[in-house]
């Protein structure tokens, strides 16, 4: 601790150099934070997907509908808690560029299964009372400035209404949720859809089943699929987590691309830090010789150099990661394309770990050099 003033003085010996090294590291960890956020965004909230929820889709493909009649049969199987269903609606609000997910659901069972969606009780009551009612995510409501009581028309794409081309909805409530919950969806009532569409009556998109015991997931999946085997609509059951992961994989390996870019960035800027440290130590060869002459041990010289290196990387890095975090708090900058825009604590911790590693790596070579310095050689060279 008593050597802190020496470390401090040495760091600021060449202000210009220290400042630019700090700035480089700052940029490196700002980028790290942003890259990790993009990586999370393309995993589509797989972290919050429930292990106790199974998704049942048509065996051929997700876009083929399943009969509504399966719901009662599923409900009777032992180990099944709640069964709900969802149907992709694909409605367009004003312009196709305003894309957001809109789905028909069965309100009561839906809210029971998705406990992470928080809706105030009076709004739930309003939804149950209004056939045309819809609840929307907090982020989506903010994006379009919707308030409770607003009437929102969606243009039909898949399901034509009996009259005209638009479906009208009343905003009756908002849902909110923690980090990682997609707050950009629009949910409305299935009974409203089914009564007013011209085709596809009595069918739904996919079932979501909450099971009592997650360890039974595999066995129950097999039970479901066997139950409907050889029927007109065979099924394929996966865990919700597997379902979301499968969806993310279809986009491509964004995660690997982001990690590759982040590694390039950290290598590039780690090199800057290492070069700065090497130079700074080289310039001070004679000073280290003097310190050693005064009785400083090799280990304390090593510590002095590593402390400098760590200080520079940690200061720049924490500021950069901090700014990335602040930026992410501002929400998705693309206006709806990346609904899950968060920088989780785990990534922040990894970032800090990488800073320590970078600081040590950047400082270790010059620090060893300074430690091994032979006083006589060093003084003669100077």
């Amino acid at each position: 601790m008593k050597f802190l003033p020496i470390v401090w003085k040495n760091i600021w010996r060449k202000k210009f150099r220290t400042i630019f090294t700090l700035l480089s590291i700052f940029i490196a960890f700002l980028l790290f934070g942003i890259l990790m956020t993009i990586r999370m965004a393309f995993s589509f909230g797989v972290d919050v997907a429930g292990l106790d929820r199974l998704v049942i889709i048509h065996k051929v493909t997700l876009i083929m509908p399943l009969p509504l009649s399966y719901q009662n049969r599923l409900q009777q199987i032992r180990g099944v808690d709640i069964v709900t269903h969802q149907s992709w609606f694909g409605g367009i609000y004003q312009d196709p560029a305003n894309f957001f997910a809109n789905m028909a659901v069965e309100p009561e069972s839906f809210l029971k299964i998705y406990q992470e969606f928080k809706v105030p009780p009076d709004q739930v009551a309003a939804w149950l009372a209004d056939r045309q009612g819809a609840i929307v995510g907090r982020d989506l409501a903010e994006r379009f400035g919707w308030k409770i009581g607003d009437r929102v028309p969606l243009t039909a794409t898949i399901y034509q209404p009996k009259q005209g081309q638009t479906w009208e909805f009343n905003i009756v409530g908002f849902y909110d949720g923690g980090d990682g919950v997609d707050k950009t969806n629009f949910f409305f009532r299935y009974d409203y859809l089914d009564e007013n569409r011209t085709g596809g009556k009595g069918t739904i998109g996919w079932y979501v089943v909450k099971i009592a015991d997650p360890s039974q997931a595999v066995a129950l999946s097999r039970t479901f699929d066997e139950m409907f085997a050889n029927s007109a609509a065979e099924t394929k059951t996966t865990t919700e987590k597997g379902f979301v992961e499968g969806f993310a994989k279809q986009i491509g390996d964004i995660s690997t691309i982001m990690i590759a870019i982040a590694s390039t960035v950290l290598f590039m800027f780690g090199l800057v830090a290492a070069s700065t440290m090497a130079q700074s130590v080289r310039e001070r060869t004679s000073e280290f010789a003097v310190l050693k002459t005064l009785g400083f041990s090799g280990a304390s010289v090593l510590t002095l150099v590593l402390a400098e290196s760590l200080f520079i990387v940690l200061t720049g890095g924490l500021l950069g990661l901090g700014l990335a975090w602040l930026f992410v708090q501002g929400g998705d900058p693309t206006g709806g394309m990346l609904p899950i825009f968060i920088l989780p604590a785990r990534e922040l911790a990894i970032g800090v770990g990488l800073m320590v590693l970078m600081g040590l790596l950047a400082g270790v070579m010059p620090a060893m050099g300074a430690m091994r310095l032979r006083i006589t050689d060093a003084l003669r060279r100077a």
Partner: protein, 396 residues
């Protein structure tokens, strides 16, 4: 012209002594090369995807979908409507019948070769017999054309490359359906190459669409006859359809994803560039400070400030150029032509494409590298030019 020769002699000295400052110069070069690699390779994804989409479809063909549908996937056309549409003027006819194909566009789940454990949404298209002559760019490159009235299918070249079990001779099992792969086709690199094609009537049965279709693709008499065709269809009160030129339909589908990739690419490369400039500043600053005695000596000998300034800038530009060339070359070698596939969000189905490191992208990369070099050298150059001679000579 005296200062020019002075500049050159100082520059030659600088460049000759770069090897002495190798480690610090390498930092600048690696930094700039890293930025260029990321910049060029991320944008090559956007270039490849948009080339696949833009190259799809022809201005000679019109795509008819239900009004309001934003893609073939969400569209639907009843059988009787299709018969009316085929009577419309403005279409190329062979004998009595229009060169038009009413089609189904559905999804088949197949695992990707890169992620064999997860199913991917492979687009499957049911076509009518006119669907092949209608698309002049399509040719069978392996096996043969499927026979109408059977469960035979042909597979696009891109689909065969990306998805498991799509070789000629294989049977694709999908629920209770069995599809016999009998051929592979190509379509000038367009998105059709990611699709699997079969008889629309077989597909109607397999996907329970009764007598319904999703879209109709028709050959126009000439590119100009689109208006005739459209006016006739929109004037008919029995129909509720929208008409798009086929190439414009595909181009509009590529916009959202291309824009997203470009935004991410420019954002990341922009930030990295700022960092690389800091790195270059440090390198050049070191280069100047380790040689402050040399520079001061030159100035004392009568070399003017401009030649010192220009020579430092030029050295920095050389570092930028080396970084740019290394970065561009690495991106080209590693990624050009890399085959992959992603999901097209408009249709929720896969599109196969190849990364394209174009000459234009390489040029932009090099220009960017030179810019980083120039900005990085500016302040150190000014500092070198302003160096007070007596102090510098006294410095150790």
């Amino acid at each position: 012209m005296n200062w020019l020769s002075q500049t050159f002699s100082v520059l030659a000295l600088n460049i000759r002594t770069i090897p002495n400052r190798l480690s610090s110069s390498a930092v600048a070069i690696v930094g700039i090369a890293g930025v260029v690699v990321v910049f060029v390779s991320v944008l090559s994804i956007a270039a490849g995807f948009s080339a696949a989409m833009q190259g799809s479809g022809s201005p000679n063909r019109a795509l008819v979908m239900r009004s309001g549908a934003d893609s073939e996937m969400t569209s639907g056309l009843p059988g009787p409507d299709v018969e009316i549409i085929k009577q419309a003027p403005g279409l190329r006819r062979v004998g009595q019948s229009a060169l038009a194909s009413a089609e189904l566009y559905v999804i088949l789940d197949l695992p990707k070769r890169s992620t064999p454990d997860a199913p991917a949404n492979v687009p499957m298209r049911g076509i009518e017999p006119a669907g092949i002559p209608l698309r002049e760019e399509v040719s069978i490159v392996d096996g043969r054309m499927f026979q109408f009235g059977t469960n035979e299918v042909i597979v696009g070249r891109g689909a065969r490359g990306q998805f498991v079990g799509t070789e000629v001779g294989n049977t694709i099992v999908s629920g209770q359906n069995r599809w016999q792969v009998v051929g592979v086709f190509e379509a000038d690199g367009g998105v059709a190459e990611t699709e699997i094609w079969g008889d629309v009537r077989t597909l109607q049965g397999a996907y329970r669409r009764e007598a319904g279709y999703q879209s109709l693709l028709a050959r126009l008499d000439s590119p100009e006859s689109l208006d005739t065709f459209r006016d006739w269809l929109t004037a008919n009160p029995q129909l509720n359809v929208s008409i798009k030129r086929e190439n414009e339909y595909y181009a509009s589908q590529s916009q959202a994803l291309t824009r997203l990739i470009r935004t991410i690419g420019f954002g990341i490369a922009g930030l990295m560039g700022i960092g690389a400039v800091f790195g270059a500043i440090l390198t050049m600053y070191t280069a100047v400070s380790t040689r402050s005695r040399e520079i001061a000596t030159l100035r004392a000998l009568g070399f003017n400030t401009t030649s010192v300034l220009v020579s430092v800038l030029a050295e920095s530009l050389v570092l930028g150029a080396i970084g740019g060339v290394i970065g561009g070359g690495a991106a080209y070698l590693a990624f050009n032509g890399y085959q992959t596939s992603t999901m097209n969000f408009q249709t929720f189905s896969q599109v196969a494409f190849a990364f394209r490191v174009t000459l234009g992208l390489l040029a932009w990369g090099l220009l960017y590298a030179l810019m980083m070099g120039l900005i990085g050298g500016l302040f150190p150059a000014i500092r070198a030019a302003r160096l007070p001679i007596p102090t510098a000579l006294r410095e150790l």
